[in-house]
Symmetry: C2
Subunit: 433 residues, 2 copies
Amino acid sequence: MERILTTQLREHLGKRVKIAGWLHNLRALGKINFVLVRDRAGIAQAVTESAEALTPLIDLQSESVIEIEGLVVAEAQAPGGIELREIAICVITPVTHSFTIPLNKPNLNTTLDVFLDHATVGLRHPRKRALLRLSSAIMAAFREFLNAQGFTEIQSPKLVASATESGANVFAVDYFGKRAFLAQSPQFYKQIMVGVFERVYEIGPVFRAEPHSTTRHVNEYVSMDVEFGFIENHFTVMAMLTRVVHYILAQLAERNAAELAMTHTQLPVAPETFPHIHFKDAQQLIFEKYGEDCRGEPDLAPQHERWLGQWARETHNSDFLFVVGYPMVKRPFYTHPDPANPTYSYSFDLLFRGTELVTGGQRLHRYGDYLAALTRARLPLEPFEYYLEPMKFGMPPHGGFAIGLERFVMQLCGLANLREATMFPRDQQRLTP
Amino acid sequence: MERILTTQLREHLGKRVKIAGWLHNLRALGKINFVLVRDRAGIAQAVTESAEALTPLIDLQSESVIEIEGLVVAEAQAPGGIELREIAICVITPVTHSFTIPLNKPNLNTTLDVFLDHATVGLRHPRKRALLRLSSAIMAAFREFLNAQGFTEIQSPKLVASATESGANVFAVDYFGKRAFLAQSPQFYKQIMVGVFERVYEIGPVFRAEPHSTTRHVNEYVSMDVEFGFIENHFTVMAMLTRVVHYILAQLAERNAAELAMTHTQLPVAPETFPHIHFKDAQQLIFEKYGEDCRGEPDLAPQHERWLGQWARETHNSDFLFVVGYPMVKRPFYTHPDPANPTYSYSFDLLFRGTELVTGGQRLHRYGDYLAALTRARLPLEPFEYYLEPMKFGMPPHGGFAIGLERFVMQLCGLANLREATMFPRDQQRLTP
């Protein structure tokens, strides 16, 4: 008999079927016994009054891999209103020890550290699984939208000869006796490829050797990168990003109701146009409304971002807020300055529920401007020569952005720690699993 | 005026439009002048008899970024049967030097090495661009098919604490004063995630510190990985792979006619079921038909694969051939042995036009079998403990495969060197661009 999925039972009402999966829970009450089976689609209940039918499960623990054949019956009391009866159980892979973390309780009842130590099995918990499904849905929607907009997917090298941004916080690799580095971002490559395809995107790992440990940073994460040409300025980039975010949220609402419910996730309030505020106005607002004088500082602190998020929610009824025009001094050398006031830049951050989710902006596109910018930044030309060759041979005005995938899930689902949104996080303490 | 793409001209016949892109070629014949503009979609021709209309291009070279406004006119002689007349040219980014490699000639007329040195601009050549578009189309089709089959996309960490396969050929990373490695494959993680999602795939970079230099290897490439549970044996895996390949080829035929024509690519002959031959029968066949006695050797050499490819084409009218049952001694420790003859394995290679394209097979799934396999391979348990925890807690019979993306394009398009199918290849000589 061909196996069907637990979510397909309803289509087979009144017939005998076979399901397969993990023994999620066994409640043997003696007179009546409930066997819960978890497969990739969901969880189904099988019921038997026969002790004999349960003999294959004697001495076995949850997570044993089993098959159950049975008759599909409607039963109002059962999860999903349907269950299997007159069952025959076959054990595929027996499990004889019980796992540290209960996977069949709504709450994990464990510390994050213990969970991460055993994540290779712990991720089977329905709530954990739902978080990763949301990650995967976000990636799919991101690609779908951009493909429809004429973007081309690229895969850029992660082994590079020099640091992308500044030289700080890069991991060094022993490369056939030479020194290489792990790419901190595909920034240079995505810009280069604007010369080839005009519009490109990439989803891939990025590596940051940041020595600090926070709840919202890890040392390897998934970056969803976009770059495109023939833009007016950073507002063209922000408009594209807004449409990407809208499309992702719409797809989640349409396709991932189960995962959103399982993770108790409220979709964010996202007006058609996200509000925006200039960096210096944001500092002024923080001073006036929240009483902290950060005016003149070159960057926003996490608390500043939280205040701004709160303000955007209250004033603009939006969970998203663009902060534009960050000071040039805190932005990388390829950032396009604001022609009207060159101490500020044509760059932006997108705050999502008061935390930075996206960084982006317009880049320089003229070779001469790059030479001047490198000089200003006291950077040598030589390591950047390959990057600047396309700038010598015709680049349109262009810009882009990078969305941190795990950060998106963290803010979407209201998680306390980025590690909860990461399959197998990497930080100073953790290189396994 | 809103910019349109060169491929949209026909929809605007008789109207004035604006296009933008790179100056692909300027043929100034005096009495009549042709300006070719390349954008992300294609190439369009603009024609003028007025020297004045060309003044913005004086002293400029190909690859200058320009806009042209003009009237759309049908013209049988023009490429695509359509051209712009009564034109006004506006220069967005001037280029004043001519690029080393002619991008507007059908042939690159340069060595691979010179090309790779200048690939950041050279990839704009329409044939090169088409190769990368095919890569991107292959990835899209791979994901589409697997999504429809209930697979979940994962992104596994590339920084790992121990080598995946054997410990040879891994790149070492300085990880906060400790030693980490770059993942040679997502093998362990994709198996682990079969316990969570049953069916998973990943497209991402893999790193091989192989010291040899061949035309079909680089040190970083894109691997398209699949793993799934509840299989019968390696033939279940081969059947899934066959469907993946068929789907990719069908999508290329449907969506990428332009790129296939541009790269002179003949789609392969792919019967509904790909022929298969057992490893030891393959060696016997090589001995009988091609006269080389490789019987008893533990692996196939490239020449052996070429002969087998030729035989599959002649005998089975197929560009694809499965070789199954490779000796256990040459396969990694997690490989499932053939129960009927345990010196051979339940693994396979898929040859495409006589070159290995895919490796796959069934894996062990019982904890006890892993302990025995590690002992046999004289490997310690400790570095693999995180990987084996899911095996202790219920794994179904499972297997999978990995397709090398660049290898696929190389064989599809008949390229002499894998580097031609790689955006920015990494080898012992090359860490830039």
